[in-house]
């Protein structure tokens, strides 16, 4: 890092001293040009990476989003027991979590028995971001839970393999009964790409490092308890879910 910061100074020095000094100007000029280009790549790359992963307050927001809850898709905010699910639609363990507990959790949401906040983050790569943004489009159609489940049911074995395209994501929506043209437009225009980045930025700020991370009233459910439906039901009941 320190060395990088010194580069511009050194460049100037050798430019000034080099032409009149003992070194031949042409060669140092070439070297300085290359150094300058490398520095530019590093600064531009790092700068844009940092900027991209900041919360964008102008991002378009889907329905059911709770900004104060990390931009998550929030159901039944008045229910006393809260579940936060940080997940990545490309993550196999998240698919397993959904396969074991999805129906139960969805039934709690529909019966308004639990405050559930879904945080679909991108931790595995570009197609995670695509699927997250598409899930928000489904939320606008009132079909978040259905789409959520359909994404996992259709999860391919390889990540970022080109399987998740806008076309495919729209088809999944149609298969669960979404008919509005707005849904397709939402996916094709990347309407909620920035929102998805905000969900990720919030998870990063909250030190969420793996998926699924499931918090019951803010307390993580250990990975070994995540794939045990009976155990999960007991945990929920102990926390006050009726």
């Amino acid at each position: 890092m320190a060395e990088k910061k010194n580069e511009p100074n050194q460049k100037k020095n050798t430019n000034k001293g080099g032409a009149a000094g003992k070194n031949k100007g042409k060669d140092n000029g070439t070297r300085n040009l290359v150094i300058g280009m490398i520095l530019l790549v590093v600064l531009a790359g790092a700068g844009s990476a940092i900027a991209k992963n900041r919360t964008n307050t102008h991002a378009a927001l889907p329905s059911d989003v709770s900004v104060s809850e990390g931009y998550g898709i929030s159901f039944n905010p008045k229910a006393p027991v809260k579940l936060d699910v940080y997940e990545d639609f490309q993550c196999p363990n998240c698919r397993n979590f959904e396969a074991v507990n999805g129906n139960y959790i969805n039934s709690l949401v529909r019966a308004k028995k639990m405050h559930v906040v879904f945080h679909p983050i991108n931790i595995l790569g570009p197609e995670s971001g695509l699927t997250s943004a598409a899930s928000a489009c489904a939320s606008d159609q009132g079909k978040f839970l259905e789409y959520h489940m359909a994404l996992y049911k259709n999860q391919p074995t390889a990540e970022n393999s080109g399987y998740w395209t806008n076309e495919k994501l729209a088809l999944i929506g149609h298969s669960i009964g979404i008919t509005s043209a707005k849904f397709d437009t939402c996916i094709n225009t990347g309407q909620y790409t920035k929102w998805a980045a905000n969900v990720e930025a919030d998870a990063a700020a909250k030190n969420i490092n793996s998926t699924p991370t499931v918090l019951l009233n803010g307390k993580p459910i250990p990975p070994q308890d995540q794939l045990n439906l009976a155990g999960l039901k007991n945990l929920f009941k102990a926390a006050g879910v009726k």
Partner: protein, 164 residues
């Protein structure tokens, strides 16, 4: 700077060392740029830096690695680039070591998704393998510090022009 003329093989070894350390940094950096979220998470899991700082470092690190890698591969400021590259590796070794000592499950993002402990279990082999690989690269960097002059280096061309 000491001169190492009369050693015919040294410049070639230096070239190999540059390509090795630079190549590893370039690949590691490039893979991480394709997934900045994971790069940041893989810094956070070491729990050395506060979360905010870890994120900034995680987003910037791949580009710093690429920068050092390009300097090494092209042979610019080889001595200092080797110190920077070797220094990074030392940092990683320390980070992995403290994670091991604290029994933190690390998910090192160095090569895609390597060294995963997704189930929360701690596997000593994961830490050891990462540390040994990084230690090897520290030795490569040390060689470059001692013998920075190699074939096909921009540094070298400049020097030869100066000497001639």
């Amino acid at each position: 700077m000491k001169r190492i003329s009369h050693v015919a093989i040294a410049p070639w070894l230096t070239l190999v060392a540059r390509l090795l350390l630079g190549g590893v940094l370039l690949v590691a950096g490039y893979l991480k740029t394709t997934n900045p979220a994971q790069a940041a998470a893989s810094v956070r899991v070491y729990r050395v830096l506060p979360t905010g700082l870890a994120n900034v470092f995680g987003y910037a690190l791949p580009w710093i690695e690429i920068g050092i890698a390009l300097l090494l591969v092209l042979g610019i400021w080889v001595r200092y680039s080797a110190v920077a590259g070797g220094g990074l590796m030392l940092l990683f070794i320390i980070a992995i070591g403290q994670a091991w000592a604290r029994k933190l499950a690390i998910n090192c993002g160095c090569f895609g998704n390597g060294g995963v402990s997704a189930d929360g279990k701690v596997h000593p082999g994961v830490y050891l393998a990462e540390m040994l690989r990084d230690l090897g690269l520290v030795l490569v960097a040390a060689y470059l510090y001692r013998f920075p002059r190699g074939k096909f280096a921009i540094d070298r061309i400049s020097e030869e022009f100066t000497e001639g």
